[in-house]
């Protein structure tokens, strides 16, 4: 039943059809399965029990085909789980075991040895039908993702249990264990156990796409810099400190320097802000934080070279009371007082930008990069703190990205929706006579343009290295990116943040693209 749901969500394009499919599942599935479904759909995946490469080898053995053939199939299908699901012959109508049975089996198997895992996997492969196999593989390799937004699932749940979506969003946030939380308890309005670390759902802004003047009078709006860091929620309750990321990961351990906040913040305080590298109350370039983000253990060196702080911009709870309904102006006043009281360098109040006219603000926005921000945030002073991405009261007004003109030199087939099409490209800039690669990009073109480039690649490829083809360096694109940093892992010496193709420069010949020098200059100006 779960596999059917996943299949339907994968094929339906219209929101209402998807919503209907989810509601149907909630009406028919067993409670234990519902809980797991909610967990899986909100990104709580069971840990990976087996590597993709092992699965590939076992699958090839099972069907009696060489591994190179499996890999070619994978490159065309663009998805490991689907490749395996398609290669294994369909022998059965399907399994009658439930979603929760399988997920719990996976959890048990984490500690088993490899041959036990192999036996279970092969047996399951043979028992399941193709759609079930697909979902099984996705869960096994911890790559389960479904094209359903959190808000869609919340809406479907809201209709089924007749509770407000915003309440449901809050109930399913935070840390709860799907294997031990019954469905009723999850959505109960009076939960038996209060989880005092539970974060509030983040309020997210829409990009500003119209003239700011259309928003109204400047004095109705609060403008701040849009900080380029990690969005976080700092919770102090019952004597303990919790730091949550926007993706609802508990990241308290990653920021040992916040321990000072644990003592000084009053109990029952929740702050919404941006985690940034900070020195002397100033935000540094995000690159500085990159060195410690991925690390499991934060060393003394990290703390010295990349000190982290919080730029606070909202107060959600005070003295244990939920104050999200109060207008922004009021919340801001209270936040200002708290930050002043705490008086620690690690907690900085995100400054409000004074402006009297929209033109003045537009002029200020252009300077955003100078203080390491991405642009501006515009928040209606009278607005409450809402749930999820809502239109109307919070807007993000980012500055234009940096751009560079480059030529495509390699292409690879895409995955998922882009399977079997060459959509993953490597770009180069000129360095004298040579071309030096400096980035990959795989988004930014229309479907039609991708089809055209795919056609070009098929007709103009020079050599083949596994899934990668080298192509005649003829197609020129403008590559847009948010940031640039020095990198000794790349030949070019630079690494870009969020590179994507912004324009296909059919008018520019490859001789006129930017040079490595140009890139290095950008690094000097924007990367340090």
């Amino acid at each position: 039943m779960f596999a059917e749901l996943v299949y339907r969500l994968g094929t339906h394009t219209k929101t209402n059809d998807k919503l209907d499919a989810i509601i149907k599942y909630f009406a028919e599935a067993a409670d234990r399965d519902k809980v797991w479904m909610i967990a899986l759909f909100s990104g709580r995946r069971p840990r990976r029990t087996i590597s993709g490469s092992k699965l590939a080898v076992w699958c090839s053995e099972l069907i009696g085909l060489p591994l190179w053939l499996f890999e070619e199939s994978y490159h065309t299908v663009g998805d490991l789980s689907e490749t395996i699901a398609l290669l294994i012959p369909e022998k059965s109508q399907g399994s009658d075991k439930s979603l929760s049975w399988y997920v719990e089996k996976f959890q048990q198997m984490e500690k088993s040895d490899e041959s036990t895992k192999k036996e279970f996997i092969i047996q399951s492969w043979n028992e399941l039908n193709s759609r079930e196999r697909f979902v099984f593989n996705k869960l096994l390799s911890s790559t389960f993702r479904v094209g359903v937004s959190q808000s869609m699932m919340v809406n479907a749940l809201a209709r089924t249990v007749k509770l407000e979506p915003s309440i449901i969003a809050h109930r399913i946030s935070g840390n709860w264990d799907p294997s031990t939380t019954p469905f009723n308890e999850l959505l109960n309005s009076r939960p038996a156990i209060t989880d005092h670390s539970k974060p509030y759902p983040f309020y997210l802004a829409y990009p500003l796409e119209q003239e700011p003047a259309l928003l109204g009078e400047p004095d109705e709006w609060q403008a701040e810099w849009k900080w380029d860091g990690i969005r976080g929620q700092i919770i102090k309750r019952n004597g303990l400190l919790f730091v949550w990321s926007r993706g609802e990961d508990l990241i308290t351990d990653k920021f040992p320097e916040y321990i000072t906040l644990a003592e000084k913040l009053p109990d029952g305080t929740v702050i919404d802000g941006e985690i940034l590298p900070v020195r002397n109350g100033q935000a540094l370039n995000f690159n500085v934080l990159q060195t410690r983000i991925g690390r499991k253990n934060i060393t003394k060196k990290h703390l010295e070279e990349a000190p982290a702080g919080i730029f606070a911009y909202d107060l959600l709870e005070q003295n244990g009371e939920d104050i999200r309904h109060l207008p922004l102006q009021e919340r801001r006043q209270r936040l200002t007082a708290i930050v002043a009281d705490v008086n620690l360098p690690v907690l900085v109040l995100s400054p409000v930008i004074e402006f009297h006219s929209w033109e003045q603000l537009a002029a200020l926005r252009i300077q955003a990069r100078n203080n390491n921000s991405e642009g501006l945030m515009l928040k209606r002073k009278s607005s409450s703190y809402q749930v999820g991405r809502k239109r109307g009261d919070w807007w993000k007004w980012k500055i234009d990205p940096l751009t560079i003109d480059a030529v495509m030199i390699y292409a690879q087939k895409g995955t998922g929706r882009r399977s079997n099409l060459y959509t993953d490209y490597t770009f180069a800039v000129r360095d004298g006579d040579k071309l030096v690669s400096f980035t990959k990009a795989y988004s930014g073109l229309t479907d039609k343009e991708f089809a055209q480039v795919d056609n070009f690649v098929k007709r103009n490829s020079i050599e083949k290295f596994g899934p990668v083809r080298t192509v005649k360096p003829e197609l020129v694109f403008e590559i847009a990116f948010e940031g640039i940093a020095a990198s000794n892992r790349h030949k070019s010496g630079v690494a870009l943040r969020f590179p994507r193709m912004s324009r296909w420069r059919k008018d520019k010949p490859p001789e006129e693209i930017n040079t490595l020098e140009d890139l290095k200059k950008m690094l000097e100006i924007y990367g340090k």
């Binding site: 994968g10 094929t11 339906h12 394009t13 219209k14 059809d17 069907i63 085909l65 060489p66 190179w68 053939l69 070619e72 199939s73 065309t76 299908v77 663009g78 998805d79 689907e82 490749t83 398609l86 290669l87 012959p89 895409g414 995955t415 998922g416 929706r417 882009r418 399977s419 079997n420 099409l421 479907d447």
Partner: protein, 315 residues
């Protein structure tokens, strides 16, 4: 080119500009529609023709109506060109006949083990269930299929669940040509109505429309409100392809061989040497070599998207 022997009427396999054309009887009316009036010599399957010491014989390929393999024999050496083919008998195109030869030239459109087709009857059943579901919800079922080959097969499935079938001009024209040429037994092709701008939009509701891939995503489709679009093509086997084309349903119905069929066909010819044309040439030829059959890739112009004739935008 002076003389052309045509395997079948798809636009990537039949081009204007030759002086003489040789093809199967059933292919001629299609070529007349697509290329115009040229010098067409037609033969029946298994009816040899002699040119300069070379014997040319056509055999059914099972791809579409009239599709043929071409057997060329010279001084005892036999080469067979498969053209596009499929091994399953769709009931319309004639059943594929493996032809013994020394050298076999085969297509490899779906030459990858992930491509495994379900039996036609099962796919038709899926299409019918989908249409019934749409009818119950008051939606119009729009099925996307090539006007030559796929559309005729899709009609076999559709005619069981819907009396009212509308068709895009390209499909209608081909339909008329096939009816007139009396190639298929009476009743195989159901009556269809051509889509024109005179027809009121309500007429389509709850019925079935068949359109070629070129119409998908164009303003022509807008007249069908509450439409569910189902694409009929072997490429629908892979989720990524279905999602990219934004279809509501994908039916992996193909007029080409799947992986297993390609291997069976090659084996059945007993060929010692195999040339692999359009599709997954390098994969298929490598696999054949590793299996002990000498194989090599051949570059051709085949395999580009079938070009549908341009439709009147005012329709």
């Amino acid at each position: 080119m002076e003389r052309a022997v045509i395997t079948h009427g798809h636009s990537d396999h039949a081009r204007p500009g030759s002086k003489y054309y040789l093809c199967h009887h059933f292919t001629k009316p299609i070529l007349q529609l697509r290329l115009g009036d040229f010098d067409y010599q037609t033969v029946e399957w298994n009816e040899p023709v002699y040119f300069n010491g070379v014997t040319v014989t056509l055999f059914p390929a099972g791809h579409i109506i009239g599709s043929s393999q071409i057997k060329v024999e010279h001084k005892g050496e036999v080469w067979v060109v498969s053209g596009d083919y499929k091994v399953e008998d769709d009931g319309i195109s004639g059943a594929f006949e493996p032809v013994k030869c020394h050298t076999f030239i085969t297509e490899s459109t779906f030459g990858l083990p992930v491509y495994t087709w379900k039996p036609q009857v099962q796919i038709y059943s899926g299409i019918q269930d989908w249409i019934k579901g749409n009818q119950a919800a008051g939606k119009t079922s729009v099925l996307i299929a090539y006007s030559l080959g796929k559309a005729q097969r899709v009609l076999q499935a559709v005619k069981e669940v819907s009396d009212k079938i509308f068709a895009h001009g390209a499909i209608y024209n081909m339909h008329e040509v096939l009816l007139k040429a009396k190639i298929l037994p009476n009743g195989t092709l159901p009556a269809i109505t051509r889509v024109t701008s005179d027809i009121p939009k309500e007429a389509y509701r709850g019925n079935v429309v068949i359109a070629p891939p070129s119409a998908d995503g164009t303003p022509w489709m807008r007249r069908f409100s509450q439409a569910a679009v189902g694409i009929c093509s072997g490429w629908m086997q892979v989720r990524g392809n279905q999602r990219r084309r934004n279809a509501d349903a994908g039916f992996a119905l193909s007029d080409h061989c799947d992986w297993k069929s390609l291997l069976h066909a090659v084996e059945a010819t007993g060929a010692e040497k195999v040339f692999v044309t359009h599709g997954f040439q390098s994969v298929f030829s490598r696999y054949l070599n590793e299996s002990g059959i000498e194989a090599a890739e051949v570059k051709t112009e085949y395999g580009t998207e079938e070009e549908e004739p341009i439709q009147d935008q005012n329709e």
